[in-house]
Symmetry: C2
Subunit: 191 residues, 2 copies
């Protein structure tokens, strides 16, 4: 195991506070199967991002994610963005474009952690080329083709640590971790 001796809770409290992370998903194609963008949003939420900006907007998808937050807690939301370029320019923190062509995540982490606000940008099949110039950092989560879902999840996990089992805010239901089967308190065992 590569990570046995890491004590994330301690290193967190000794060091700086964790950054607030948002995700921007560009190149979404409404009308095509929305599962991939849904998975990006769910991974962003589960691994501790505050919100996901979505271009172009998709109100149905945003509604489904809002229903998940309502059931499972927290105030993560999908925020529609009509002009992603302007969001990237005006973002009050560091813009981090996740791309297999960028610098290794491992090497970039210390520099990312200096910022109190981060915007992780993931594209679809075709990323607008100006993103490479507009981003403060171009960061690769490995240099092999994989998935924007994986890139968002692993980057968040390395920045914020694995999510804890605790109930989120005022969630009507929560899971009781189990070696076998499904245990849910206060709701139905339905994700």
């Amino acid at each position: 195991m590569a990570t046995g001796s890491r004590d994330s809770s301690r290193s967190r409290s000794v060091r700086r506070p964790l950054p607030e992370v948002s995700v921007l998903r560009v190149g979404h194609r409404p009308g095509r199967d929305p599962r991939l963008t849904t998975h990006v949003a769910l991974a962003a939420r589960a691994f501790g991002a505050r919100r996901m900006y979505l271009h172009p907007r998709d109100d149905e998808l945003a509604g489904r994610i809002a229903a998940v937050s309502h059931r499972w807690g927290g105030d993560f939301a999908v925020v529609p963005v009509d002009d992603w370029n302007s969001l990237v320019r005006s973002f009050p923190g560091a813009v981090v474009h996740l791309t297999m062509y960028g610098l290794p995540l491992e090497r970039s982490l210390p520099r990312l952690a200096r910022h109190s606000q981060l915007l992780l940008v993931v594209g679809g099949a075709k990323v607008p080329p100006e993103l490479y110039r507009r981003a403060r950092f171009n960061v690769a989560v490995g240099h092999q083709p994989h998935s924007e879902v994986a890139a968002v999840a692993v980057t968040l996990e390395r920045l914020l640590g694995l999510p804890r089992p605790a109930r989120r805010g005022d969630a009507p239901q929560r899971i009781v971790p189990s070696a076998r089967g499904k245990r849910v308190i206060g709701g139905r065992a339905r994700p």
Copy 2:
């Protein structure tokens, strides 16, 4: 940053050798949009799994992943499985079912790392209930709904570390990590 002091290369060499990890994806629906299963396969490959077993079989998808391995190196393959139950029963190592209802990954890692072979199982929308009994471990990558792509990627990253930029085997092309733009040696800049 939660992970600043981790030195994965050192802890690896002092400890036991890394496990060989395979992925089993059940509940794939051929004919529907295959992107989600494609992303599971690409994430499995990029983060160091040796192969992905797929039930039910999907030869078109397996062919697309084989083309990726041909271009980017390594011998990762998608292996069709007609009877997943029998694969799970006969697997010569520990079967790890990734589910939001399981025990926390953080807590499970030391026990997983004792095995030299691991099979990570991820389901689709409906997971066969017997999987919870058949698996040696039911492990949660967070207890919030997210994505089988994210679960596979984060578990592999925690088991094996982040993938290195090195060229894979006899790959005809590789990426040169860059702060800006795309640099590829020996091929076209097309993932």
